[in-house]
């Protein structure tokens, strides 16, 4: 119930936000929304199903390149291109899953890094796709039909819409039998198989859905930034960030990635403004320290920490109530004895 109110409040705030902030802050808000969206997408397979992928940038990049190539080379409308990119990524995820899912734990994570790096190398060498030079999104057709705008505000609505769509998909999955199956696979894969769950199939479903939404996020990035290259949409650093957003906020929770995105993006911008310009790596040091602190002390993220805080408070309240009840009955007994 409390979460429900919180969600509505946040939604209203998000809808009203453009009216109260200026253009440069609006860009940061868009970055938050986009980071949250890929975090939610990653969370589907990494948080709920427990398959920690550190190569998700591969899907992001495929989405970005698919929609951009279709537009640049064949004049295909970006709205169609975006969906196509999502489908292509979901198809690629089949190869991803087939090669990696039989691996456990660390091995799986390493395999995802390797596959993503191969994808990056492919795009770096692929002349037709722009190779290392990258691709530019044409600006000759502005407007909603061609998803190209000269101001930031429409991108804000697009990013918000996409985030809401991704959240809705995640919410629907969480409440359905898929959500239960994913959690079972994450908790106890062998026990899950003993109750009839084909874990390979459901891991794949989680991955494909996740890949689809991640790719759409990549396409949106391309349309907004107008320029993509292997380094901006396919790097391992990007993959780490997608996972980190979810981990920071709370893996396996619906709004965790949103909270994580707000915090992470704020820290990034803050350190960039105050330290980044010197090129001395101070922003990197702060970012890395944050990762370590979260990983060591708060692996369940902010939401996880809040939940355990609430549980401990409830347990303490319970305990004091019991003590009070004991004391009351003891004094009553004493009264009777006397």
């Amino acid at each position: 119930m409390k979460n429900y109110h919180f969600a509505i409040f946040t939604l209203v705030a998000a809808l009203l936000l453009p009216a109260v902030i200026d253009s440069s802050h609006l860009n940061m808000a868009i970055l938050v929304l986009m980071a949250a969206q890929v975090g939610v997408a990653w969370n589907m397979v990494g948080g709920y199903a427990g398959q920690v992928s550190l190569g998700h940038a591969a899907f992001y990049g495929i989405g970005a390149y698919a929609s951009t190539l279709l537009l640049v080379k064949f004049g295909v409308n970006p709205w169609i291109g975006v969906l196509t990119g999502g489908v292509v990524a979901a198809l690629l995820s089949l190869a991803f899953g087939w090669s990696c899912f039989r691996l456990k734990g660390h091995y799986f994570a390493m395999a995802t890094i390797a596959v993503a790096e191969l994808v990056q190398i492919f795009f770096t060498e692929w002349e037709y796709g722009g190779a290392a030079v990258g691709l530019y999104v044409p600006l000759d057709k502005p407007g909603w039909l061609w998803m190209s705008f000269s101001t930031k505000l429409p991108y804000y609505w697009l990013a918000l819409g996409l985030l809401l769509l991704t959240l809705a998909a995640n919410w629907w999955i969480e409440r359905s039998y898929l959500g239960y199956y994913f959690r079972a696979i994450k908790d106890e894969p062998d026990a899950a198989r003993s109750i009839g769950i084909n874990i390979a199939r459901y891991k794949q479903i989680a991955l494909s859905v996740s890949a689809f939404f991640t790719a759409i996020g990549g396409s949106l990035y391309a349309q907004k930034e107008i320029y993509i290259d292997p380094n901006s949409v396919l790097s391992t650093a990007l993959s780490i960030k997608m996972a980190l957003v979810a981990i920071l906020g709370g893996v396996g929770t619906l709004f965790g990635p949103v909270i994580g995105a707000v915090i992470l993006t704020s820290i990034e911008e803050f350190t960039r403004i105050f330290f980044g310009g010197t090129g001395r790596g101070t922003d990197v040091i702060i970012y890395a320290s944050l990762i370590i602190v979260i990983a060591v002390f708060y692996p369940t993220g902010i939401i996880g920490w809040m939940r355990s805080f609430r549980e401990r408070r409830a347990a303490r309240a319970d305990a004091s109530r019991q003590i009070a009840a004991h004391a009351a009955s003891a004094s009553t007994n004493n009264g009777e004895a006397a």
Binding site: H106, Y107, I292
Partner: protein, 288 residues
């Protein structure tokens, strides 16, 4: 392609492979003893390189001379890292372990950049500069010395593990932590030792590399991937496996670069990595 070029390539592949082996031995020891994959391993190598560089630039001390000092410093650093951070995540979920060592990796790179900037450095005119001709093949002296050095250090590690009591205790902890503990072996000390030796191996590899490879904050990135491939191919936890796999990976990488082009060297190694992960995950000689 002449025989000479082929032999040349083979030789340089073996020599660089020996370095990969040395780095990988440290990584495989850590994994073998405590089941943690150290993503920050390349940074021990980087620190070893910088240590050599600064001792050479500031005090004109030759890298080979300062090798023991660097190795000791890296050993201490490895133990320190274990005591401060790693000890807290031994029983943590895998997600925590992965991101902790990943965080350390990024942190060390950032620290290196902060103190020493991103400029490329190199060690010129050390005691091992120049080339030498051996059985008709031209070899760089630093590379040759590095290869020999790697063999020597690997031999020392092997001797330590198989002929000393402390080494036997380490191996025991690696096979069965609980049984070792019942025999009175302190796991905590063994883990510290593993991290110390692991860091020292990578640091030593760094010193050997520094005589001919550029030194910069992110240099670890080049080698961590290769180290993983070697550890995987040789078998997680197997030191002899890492040695032979290192040589093999070095040869494959360099030969592949010759045949397909240098920009594909990494891709070839990655494909090899995925292949081994998928079809023979226990590696050539590994424990599962």
């Amino acid at each position: 392609m002449t025989t000479e070029i082929l032999l040349q390539t083979l030789a340089s592949g073996i020599l660089i492979g020996l370095i990969y082996a040395l780095v990988a031995i440290g990584l495989t020891m850590i994994f073998g003893v405590m089941d943690i994959v150290n993503f920050a391993h390349g940074e021990f190598l980087m620190l070893g390189m910088y240590s050599s560089f600064w001792l050479f630039s500031l005090y004109a001390l030759d890298p080979l001379l300062t090798l023991p000092l660097t190795v000791i410093m890296l050993f201490a650093f490895g133990v320190l890292l274990y005591r401060l951070v790693i000890v807290r995540i031994i029983n943590a979920p895998m997600l925590s372990q992965i991101f902790t060592t990943f965080g350390i990796m990024i942190l060390l790179r950032g620290v290196a950049q902060f103190f020493w900037k991103s400029d490329f450095r190199s060690i010129e005119n050390s005691s091992v500069s120049g080339t030498v001709k051996l059985v008709g093949i031209q070899l760089g002296k630093p590379q040759l010395v590095a290869g020999v050095g790697a063999i020597v250090i690997t031999g020392l590690i092997y001797f330590f593990l198989n002929r000393t009591r402390l080494g036997a205790a380490l191996e025991a902890t690696a096979s069965d932590k609980e049984a070792a503990r019942l025999m009175g072996i302190d796991s905590h000390k063994m883990f510290s030792l593993a991290w110390g030796i692991g860091a020292a191996c990578a640091g030593a590899a760094g010193v050997l590399l520094a005589t001919f490879f550029p030194i910069f904050p992110d240099v670890g990135a080049n080698f961590i991937l290769l180290a993983f491939v070697v550890v995987n191919l040789g078998g997680f936890g197997s030191v002899t496996g890492a040695f032979w796999a290192g040589i093999l990976v070095g040869v494959i990488e360099v030969m592949g670069g010759l045949l397909l082009g240098p920009q594909y060297k990494t891709a070839i190694v990655l494909v090899l990595f995925l292949g081994v992960l998928m079809f023979r995950p226990q590696g050539l000689m590994g424990k599962a």
